[in-house]
């Protein structure tokens, strides 16, 4: 039996699967944040290029990622931090929707800045 040749997307997904399987929660968080920042950049770029389809796809991915982050919050394990994270994610959701509705590139650039600052705070916290 000949093995089916994997499509490039499947190869990437399999690679990601192996990579993620070895992740701790912190690694997962940083990976999700990085992916999210990429989606915000894609949204801003799509607005710049007036590419509505690309903008819709990037926004949809971003909302899915933020939704996943929100749903992963555990308010019993770390109440104060989870509450602050929920505030942050809700505000981010609102900013994404506003930026999408008005094709406002600056909203997405602000999201890039704010999420990058939080990733930096994660990293500083990790190194301290």
């Amino acid at each position: 039996m000949t093995a089916r040749k994997l499509l490039p997307r499947e190869v990437a997904r399999t690679y990601k699967q192996v990579e993620i399987a070895g992740f701790g929660k912190t690694d997962l968080l940083v990976t999700i944040y990085s992916t999210l920042i990429t989606q915000f950049r894609r949204s801003a770029l799509a607005i710049e290029n007036n590419n509505i389809a690309a903008r819709g796809e990037a926004v949809s991915n971003a909302l899915e990622l933020i939704g996943e982050l929100r749903q992963s919050l555990d308010f019993h394990k770390a109440p104060e931090l989870a509450m602050n994270l929920e505030d942050f994610y809700m505000t981010a959701t609102q900013t994404v929707l506003k930026g999408h509705r008005h094709a406002d590139r600056n909203s997405f650039l602000q999201l890039v800045n704010e999420f990058s600052a939080v990733v930096t705070a994660f990293e500083e916290s990790l190194n301290s």
Binding site: K25, K77, L85, E86
Partner: protein, 244 residues
């Protein structure tokens, strides 16, 4: 230990049943509202696609109207009118092409088939918005048989194209109003969730920089492992699905 690291007194149900119940309710609310946010995002994408298509149709109709005005001028020759008719035919084909190819998630938006569609925009069963988008085909716009071969026909074409322009503007206004309703629904979704959380005594307009600063300070007071703990329910499998 957890009490010290979180800075909160409530960590177990026995510490504060009311707050604990509220936190559990918040968990459930978040699951529903995260999905509603995604639906609203998709609905906004749908609105943006429909609006872009409708804008292109409007530009074509405007050009048809300009050409009809030009053709109504008696100083033109038959040859001139033929050339104008050819351009009008091409613009009309363009309109039909846009109407048949403007789609979202394989659903046509501008051919009159997108009617009476429900978008779930909230966490309750009644929280849905019904949307219909009018047809922008040349037939629906009354431009199917537009003819400028004589100055009299061209004058009739001015009336037809003016009516068509009104129709396209009306559809665009329909789409714009849908997009506005999505925007206000998004903002209502946030405020209803915020009110029901009952954890904040007051909440003004959302300030992203403030939310970000609060979070960063909270992170600095805690540790990365606590941030991971706060996202305790993050699962590798569900996250994997998001990498495309």
């Amino acid at each position: 230990m957890l009490q010290v690291s979180t800075g909160r007194l409530i960590n177990r149900a026995s510490d504060g049943p009311a707050l604990s119940a509220m936190l559990s309710r918040l968990d459930a609310e978040i699951r529903s509202s995260a999905q509603a946010s995604r639906n609203i995002g998709d609905a906004m994408s749908l609105g943006a696609v429909a609006d872009a298509g409708a804008q292109s149709v409007t530009e074509n109709v405007q050009r048809i109207r300009e050409l009809s005005v030009q053709a109504a001028n008696d100083t033109l020759t038959d040859g001139d009118r033929q050339a104008i008719q050819q351009e009008i035919n091409s613009l009309r084909s363009g309109i039909d092409q846009i109407a048949s190819s403007t789609n979202f998630n394989q659903r046509n938006l501008l051919d009159g088939s997108f009617t009476n569609q429900n978008i779930q925009v909230g966490t309750g069963s009644a929280d849905s918005v019904n949307v219909s988008i009018g047809s922008l085909t040349s037939g629906a716009l009354g431009l199917e048989n537009i003819d400028v071969s004589t100055s009299a026909n061209a004058r009739a074409a001015i009336t037809s194209s003016s009516d068509a322009l009104e129709t396209t503007l009306s559809v665009r206004s329909q789409v714009g109003s849908f997009q506005n309703s999505m925007e206000s629904t998004a903002s209502n979704l946030m405020s209803s969730r915020i009110q029901s959380s009952a954890t904040r005594s007051s909440w003004g307009d959302t300030d992203f920089a403030e939310a970000s600063t609060n979070l960063q300070m909270s992170l600095l007071r805690s540790s990365t492992s606590l941030a991971a703990l706060a996202h305790y329910n993050a699962s590798e499998n569900s996250i994997l699905n998001l990498f495309r």
